[in-house]
C-alpha cells in the first residue's frame, strides 16, 4: 500500500479549500442565522436559483464522497445495511443514510443542518429519485420539489423537453423555492449569476482543453475532480468561483508555457509516458493510492467523462443570462449521464482523437448503473472505431469492500505494459503513436 504523505497543493487548491471551509461554517450556523438549506444533487443542479434566493445548498453525493475520502463511508454503509438496505444498492445512498443515522456530521466535523427544502434535480440517474424518496421519509414534513429532467434518448434536446422543464421550473419548483426562501426570485440577480457562470465556464473549458497540449499540464481526471468542484457545486454563478477559475487558468497556462507536467499530491510529474481517456467516476475511498498507480507509471489522463457530470461545457454549452430558465433546462439535460449511449461513444471517440490519447480506460463502478450499464459495449465500440488498446477495471464509489488495490494495480500494470509495447512497435514501424 502507498504511504500517505501531506499532499502538495497549488494556490487554486488552497483557495478552493477556503471556499469549502467557509461554506461548511456557514452551513453549521445556518439555522441561527436564519438561512434556509436546500438538499440537492450535483448533476443538473440549479445552484444559481438556490443562491439567487439566498439559500444554502447541500449535496448528498458530495457528503458521501467526502465520507469516502475520510474513511468513514465503510461504517456508514454498514449502518444503512443494518436498517434494511441491500448490499446490492448504490453506496452513495447508503453512505448518506448512514451518515444521517450517525448525526449528519459534515467533512469539517460540524453537524450539517437539516433541510428546509429537498430539491430533487432528477438528472441522469434513476437512483436519485429513490434517494430523495428515502430522504423525504427521513425528514417528514419538509417541503420537497421535483425537477424531472428528460433523458436525451434520441441524442438531442427537443423543444418539447425544454418546455416541459421550464414549465416545471416556473409553476412548481420556483414557487416552492420562493415559499421556503420567503422571497420572490429576482430575475436580474439570477441573470447576473448566470453571466458569472458563463465566464467561469469559459475559463474551465480552457483549463480542460490545455490537456490537448503535449505534455499535458493537467491531469483531467484525478486533478480534474478538484478543478470542477466550484463549478459543479455551491459556487457556480458567484464572484468567488470566477476568481478561483481565473487563478486556476493562470496556473495551468503558466505550467503549459513552461512545458511542465501535472501536479500530483507528491509534486510535479516528471514525464508523460501515456495519455489516457478515462470513462467512469473515480474511487473515493482509496483516491490517492489509485491516482498514484497512474502517476508512478507516467500515465496522464487527458480527458475524462466524469468531469462532465456537471455539464458539457467543452462541447459548447454556456449558461445564458438572456434566457435563464431555458438555459437551466438545457444545462440539466446536457450533463454527461443524461446522454444516450451512442452520444457517449461519440464523445469518447472525439476525446481520444482530439486529445491524442494512447489508450482508453474504463473504471467501472459497482454502485453506478447510470455509468456502468453498457460500458462493455462502449468499450468494444471504441476499440473498433479508434484502434487503441482499451482497459477495464472495477471498483466502487465509497464502499471500501469493493476496492482491491492489488487487483487494480496488477491490471493497470499489465495495461501500461501493453501500451508501452505498442509504442515501441509503432515507433519501429515508423507510425505515429
Amino acid at each position: 500500500m502507498a504511504d500517505v504523505k501531506e499532499a502538495v497543493k497549488e494556490k487554486s487548491m488552497v483557495i478552493q479549500k477556503e471556499m469549502l471551509a467557509n461554506l461548511f461554517t456557514e452551513l453549521s450556523t445556518a439555522k441561527e442565522n436564519g438561512k434556509k438549506v436546500v438538499y440537492t444533487f450535483v448533476p443538473g443542479n440549479i445552484t444559481e436559483l438556490i443562491l439567487a434566493m439566498d439559500m444554502l445548498p447541500v449535496y448528498p453525493e458530495i457528503n458521501a464522497l467526502q465520507s469516502g475520502m475520510r474513511k468513514k463511508s465503510g461504517s456508514y454503509i454498514k449502518d444503512a445495511e443494518k436498517v434494511g438496505f441491500s448490499e446490492d444498492v448504490c453506496t452513495y445512498v447508503k453512505c448518506d443514510i448512514g451518515m444521517m443515522l450517525n448525526g449528519n456530521i459534515g467533512p469539517t466535523g460540524e453537524k450539517l443542518p437539516e433541510p428546509d427544502l429537498l430539491l430533487l434535480s432528477y438528472t441522469g440517474c434513476f437512483t436519485f429519485m429513490k434517494w430523495f424518496e428515502n430522504l423525504e421519509r427521513l425528514y417528514p414534513g419538509v417541503e420537497i420539489a421535483m425537477l424531472h429532467t428528460p433523458y436525451q434518448e434520441d441524442g438531442k434536446i427537443t423543444e418539447d423537453q425544454v418546455n416541459y422543464m421550464v414549465k416545471q421550473l416556473k409553476e412548481d419548483v420556483i414557487p416552492k423555492m420562493e415559499k421556503v426562501a420567503g422571497k420572490k426570485l429576482d430575475y436580474d440577480r439570477l441573470s447576473k449569476m448566470l453571466e458569472n457562470s458563463s465566464k467561469a465556464e469559459d475559463l474551465w473549458v480552457q483549463v480542460l482543453q490545455s490537456a490537448k497540449n503535449v505534455p499535458s499540464p493537467i491531469d483531467a481526471y484525478f486533478a480534474g475532480v478538484y478543478y470542477m468542484g466550484p463549478l459543479n457545486t455551491a459556487f457556480r454563478g458567484t464572484e468567488i468561483a470566477l476568481e478561483y477559475y481565473q487563478e486556476l487558468h493562470n496556473e495551468v497556462f503558466e505550467r503549459m508555457k513552461l512545458g511542465l507536467h501535472p501536479v500530483t499530491p507528491e509534486g510535479e510529474m516528471k514525464e508523460e509516458r501515456f495519455r489516457l481517456v478515462v470513462e467512469g467516476p473515480p474511487n473515493w475511498t482509496n483516491f490517492r493510492e489509485f491516482w498514484k498507480i497512474f502517476y508512478d507509471m507516467g500515465a496522464v489522463i487527458v480527458a475524462s467523462t466524469y468531469t462532465k457530470v456537471g455539464g458539457l461545457y467543452d462541447q459548447g454549452f454556456r449558461h445564458d443570462p438572456e434566457k435563464p430558465l431555458e438555459s437551466l433546462a438545457k444545462y440539466c439535460m446536457g450533463c454527461y449521464t443524461n446522454l444516450n449511449l451512442p452520444q457517449r461513444v461519440d464523445l469518447l471517440e472525439h476525446y481520444i482523437k482530439e486529445y491524442k490519447a494512447d489508450g482508453f480506460l474504463i473504471n467501472s463502478i459497482k454502485s453506478c448503473n447510470s455509468f456502468s450499464a453498457g460500458q462493455l459495449l462502449m468499450m468494444r465500440e471504441i476499440e473498433q472505431r479508434c484502434g487503441i488498446p482499451v482497459g477495464f477495471i472495477e471498483s466502487d464509489l465509497v464502499d471500501p469492500r469493493y476496492f482491491s488495490y492489488a487487483n487494480i494495480k496488477n491490471r493497470l500494470e499489465s495495461y501500461f505494459q501493453m501500451l508501452g509495447q505498442r509504442k515501441v512497435i509503432m515507433e519501429q514501424e515508423g507510425q505515429t503513436v
Partner: protein, 391 residues
C-alpha cells in the same frame, strides 16, 4: 367436484407454452398475415399498449430470457454486479429471437433499462428504439403535456413504418379492449382471493404472461373462459397462509421460485409479477373524442404503485398496506431481483410501513435464472409456520 375442469387444464397448457415462447412464434405469425402489421417489443413495466394496437401493431412484452435460454453473449456485455434481465435480452437481441420486430420501447424504470435502449441503438435493432421517458410530474398541463408529446412521437414512428393513421375510433376501440383485459385479470385475482386453491399462482402467472405475446382479443377470450371455469367450485382448500409478493415488477422470478413459495404453504393472493398488465387501475373512458387524453390521464391518475414512479404525496408503503388488507393477506414476501436498485431501495420503507401496520414480512432476492430453491422454500415455510402458529 374436486378436480380442475379438463378445459382449464388445456388452456393452462396453452398459456404455459405461449408465456415462455422466447421466439414469439404466434406474434410473428400474426404479423405475417398483413404487410401493414407491426411488432413492437416493450420491456417492463408499462407502456400504453392501446396506441400500438390502434396503429395496427401488436405490443409484445419482453420480460427477459429467465431460466429458459443459455446466456453466453449477454454475459459478455454486463459486469457481475448488474441485474440479470438485460443479459437475457441482449442474448435474445443478438440471437434470432427478436427478428422481425419493428420497434422497441424501453420504459423509464431504471438506469439499466435506460442504457439498454442505447445498446439497442448501437447494435441497430429494430426500425425504431425509444426510451419511454414517462413523466414524473403528474400535473396534467405539465407532465401530461409532455407525456402526450412522447406518445405522439411513438405514433409517428409507427406511422412512418406502416402508414396506418391512428384515429379516435381506433384508439377508443383499443382502450375498450384493454379495459376488458384488465377487468378480467382483476376478476381472476378476485376469485383467487376467495378461493386461491382453484388456480395456482404459477398458473395465474402463465395466463397473464401469455397475454404479452398474443393479440389482446385472443387473450380476452382466454381470460373470459378462465373466469368462467374458476367461478365453479373445485379443489380442496389447504391450510396455507395468504401472502402478497412485492418487488418482482421487472426481472421475473423463475417459475420454480413461485412454485416453491406455494409449496411452502403460501397462497399468493396478490403480486406485482405482471404489473404492466395491471398498471391502470380501473377503466379509461372509451367514448371520448380525444382518447389520447384518456390515456394520458390514465397514467397520471390511475397508475399502480411502483418503484419506477415518484411517490412523494402518494407513498407506496401505505398503498401496499391497503392492498394487504383488501386481500385479507397474512403477510408480505419482499421478493426483488438482485441488484435491482429501485425495488431494493424501496424495501426498507415498505418494511417500515408493514411493521407500522402490524403486517408480518420476510424478504429474499433472486435472479431470473436462479436454480436452487431449497433455501427459499425453507424460508417461506418457516414464515408460513410462524404465522399459522403465532399470529
Amino acid at each position: 367436484m374436486t378436480e380442475a375442469p379438463d378445459r382449464l387444464k388445456t388452456i393452462l397448457d396453452e398459456c404455459k407454452t405461449l408465456a415462455f415462447d422466447l421466439n414469439f412464434t404466434l406474434a410473428k405469425d400474426w404479423k405475417k398475415e398483413s404487410s401493414d402489421r407491426l411488432l413492437v417489443g416493450y420491456l417492463p413495466i408499462y407502456v400504453p399498449r392501446e396506441i400500438i394496437h390502434a396503429a395496427n401493431g401488436l405490443p409484445v412484452g419482453i420480460m427477459g430470457a429467465g431460466d429458459r435460454k443459455q446466456i453466453i453473449k449477454g454475459d459478455a456485455y454486463y459486469q457481475s454486479y448488474i441485474c440479470h434481465l438485460p443479459r437475457g435480452i441482449v442474448e435474445m437481441a443478438l440471437d434470432t429471437n427478436l427478428e422481425n420486430f419493428d420497434g422497441f420501447l424501453f420504459p423509464s424504470i431504471c438506469d439499466c433499462v435506460r442504457n439498454l435502449s442505447g445498446m439497442f441503438k448501437l447494435v441497430k435493432k429494430g426500425k425504431f428504439t425509444r426510451y419511454f421517458d414517462y413523466p414524473q410530474n403528474f400535473e396534467k398541463h405539465i407532465g401530461g403535456t409532455f407525456y402526450r408529446e412522447l406518445i405522439e412521437t411513438i405514433l409517428q414512428d409507427m406511422y412512418q413504418i406502416n402508414g396506418v393513421k391512428v384515429t379516435p375510433e381506433k384508439l377508443n376501440h383499443a382502450i375498450g379492449l384493454y379495459n376488458t383485459n384488465r377487468q378480467l385479470i382483476e376478476a381472476i385475482y378476485n376469485i383467487r382471493q376467495d378461493a386461491p386453491w382453484r388456480l395456482s399462482a404459477v398458473d395465474t402467472y402463465h395466463i397473464l404472461r401469455a397475454g404479452l405475446t398474443i393479440p389482446v382479443e385472443k387473450h380476452n377470450e382466454i381470460l373470459q373462459e378462465v373466469v368462467t371455469l374458476i367461478g365453479e367450485e373445485y379443489g380442496e382448500p389447504l391450510d396455507n397462509i395468504r401472502i402478497v409478493v412485492s418487488g418482482s415488477f421487472c426481472e421475473q422470478p423463475p417459475i420454480g421460485l413461485i412454485k416453491s413459495v406455494e409449496m411452502a404453504g403460501c397462497y399468493i393472493v396478490d403480486d406485482d409479477f405482471m404489473l404492466g398488465s395491471r398498471w391502470i387501475q380501473g377503466d379509461m373512458d372509451n367514448s371520448t373524442s380525444d382518447p389520447l387524453n384518456e390515456i394520458v390521464d390514465g397514467f397520471l391518475t390511475k397508475s399502480a404503485p411502483s418503484s419506477a414512479v415518484y411517490d412523494v404525496g402518494n407513498p407506496k408503503g401505505a398503498r401496499l398496506v391497503k392492498l394487504v388488507k383488501e386481500r385479507n393477506a397474512d403477510g408480505v414476501i419482499f421478493c426483488a431481483a438482485s441488484f435491482c436498485d429501485p425495488a431494493l431501495l424501496d424495501r426498507p420503507e415498505l418494511q417500515k410501513s408493514c411493521d407500522a401496520g402490524g403486517i408480518a414480512h420476510i424478504n429474499f432476492q433472486f435472479h431470473e435464472n436462479t436454480g436452487q430453491f431449497k433455501v427459499i422454500k425453507e424460508q417461506a415455510g418457516t414464515f408460513s409456520d410462524s404465522i399459522k402458529l403465532w399470529v
